[in-house]
């Protein structure tokens, strides 16, 4: 975080890519619910405790989750293979924003978002890493999110467990 500070929390996220809905809860290690928010086209905060109570935080969090788990917004404008064998799909959202989705030969994947030609946000998913409690369902064991635009921050997400929900 800005100023070199760091903190660890537990996140619980219920995602429907079909309906593009998100329900996200952040819990302290001691079990206290710090944030409970829903995205259904707009962000609704059910509960928020400082510093997790701002609309800006909620929007940023939902944007990060959408970037990781939902298809990129915009049109597919190109595909190709990089020199290291990774496959890449390029999406263009508007005249300023480009998103590259990259799948490595070992099935790790990466999303890079460029704005005005500069990398401003990226996601790297490590599919080979194991979940802490062993329940994984093809989810990556670790995801790293890096945001360059101010104030700038980095998130490392370690998977505790992932479960499919039969709705």
């Amino acid at each position: 975080m800005p100023g070199g500070r760091n903190a660890s929390v537990i996140g619980i996220t219920d995602i429907s890519s079909d309906f593009e809905t998100i329900h996200c809860i952040i819990v302290s290690i001691e079990g206290l619910v710090l944030f409970d928010g829903v995205y259904k086209g707009e962000v609704v905060i059910n509960r928020g405790i400082q510093p997790f109570d701002s609309k800006e935080f909620a929007k940023g969090l939902m944007n990060d989750i959408r970037m990781v788990f939902f298809p990129p917004v915009g049109e597919l404008t190109g595909t190709g293979v990089l020199s290291n064998g990774s496959h890449v799909c390029r999406y263009r959202n508007d005249t300023m924003t480009i998103v590259d989705v990259i799948i490595d030969p070992n099935h790790d994947w990466e999303i890079r978002q460029y704005r005005n030609g500069n990398l401003n946000r990226s996601v790297k998913a490590y599919i080979q890493e194991r979940a802490i409690d062993g329940v994984q369902k093809a989810f990556p064991g670790r995801i790293e999110i890096s945001v360059k635009e101010k104030p700038g921050y980095a998130l490392t997400l370690r998977l505790i467990r992932a479960e499919s929900l039969n709705l």
């Binding site: 070199g4 500070r5 290690i29």
Partner: protein, 207 residues
């Protein structure tokens, strides 16, 4: 209205839990005060269940707790996230396990943690009625119910239920209710009182 942040709430919870967990059951507050004065050291394993409507089954955390009078504390989570909260000789630190070992957590206010230490000391001396944040009531079946006095706090924590075991000096569980379908239950096991603890228990982990 006073705004509660993450740390203030944890501070209150830590104060209340540590204070009550090991004083033992009694039918009156006077006896509880006397029992509290007999505690020198504590060691206990704990299992924490986080129940949420969004979860198909509770999130389980496990760890171990140490206390030594007058003010040394180690609250250690061993899974799923390793973390250690230490209070010793007036210093308060917290460590989180990263990829290659523990790193110091800079997200906490050390000044606020100092207050935790002072509050715990007060409670462990048996001054239960002096906590301004909770109303405490003795109930049947070895239960104590704690209810927040302030509206701003009760919006976050509805109440805290402590169940004592039939073994003197040992609590069975603590349940913190945040909403109808959101609560945290901490179950204590292997509680050992007044055993000698190694001083390294309250030292920083290797970084």
């Amino acid at each position: 209205m006073k705004k509660f942040n993450n740390f203030n709430i944890l501070l209150m919870l830590a104060t209340v839990l540590v204070s009550f967990i090991f004083v033992g059951w009694s039918k009156d507050w006077d006896q509880l005060r006397k029992d509290a004065g007999q505690i020198n050291t504590i060691r206990a394993d704990f299992i924490q269940e986080k129940h949420l409507q969004i979860l198909s089954r509770p999130l389980i955390s496990k760890g171990v707790f140490y206390y030594e009078a007058p003010g040394s504390l180690r609250w250690e989570y061993q899974s799923p996230i390793k973390s250690i909260l230490l209070m010793h000789k007036g210093r308060v630190t917290r460590y989180i396990w990263a990829e290659n070992g523990f790193r110091r957590d800079s997200g906490l206010s050390l000044q606020a943690m100092q207050i935790v230490l002072e509050e715990i000391t007060m409670w462990l001396r048996g001054h239960f009625a002096e906590n301004p944040d909770f109303t405490a009531s003795l109930e049947p079946d070895r239960k104590i119910m704690l209810t927040p006095k302030k509206k701003a706090f009760s919006a976050i924590i509805r109440n805290i239920e402590l169940i004592f075991s039939d073994r003197p000096g040992v609590i069975k569980s603590v349940t913190i209710y945040e909403g109808e379908k959101s609560f945290t239950r901490i179950i204590f096991k292997n509680v050992r009182v007044n055993e000698v603890l190694k001083e390294t228990v309250f030292g920083a982990p290797e970084l």
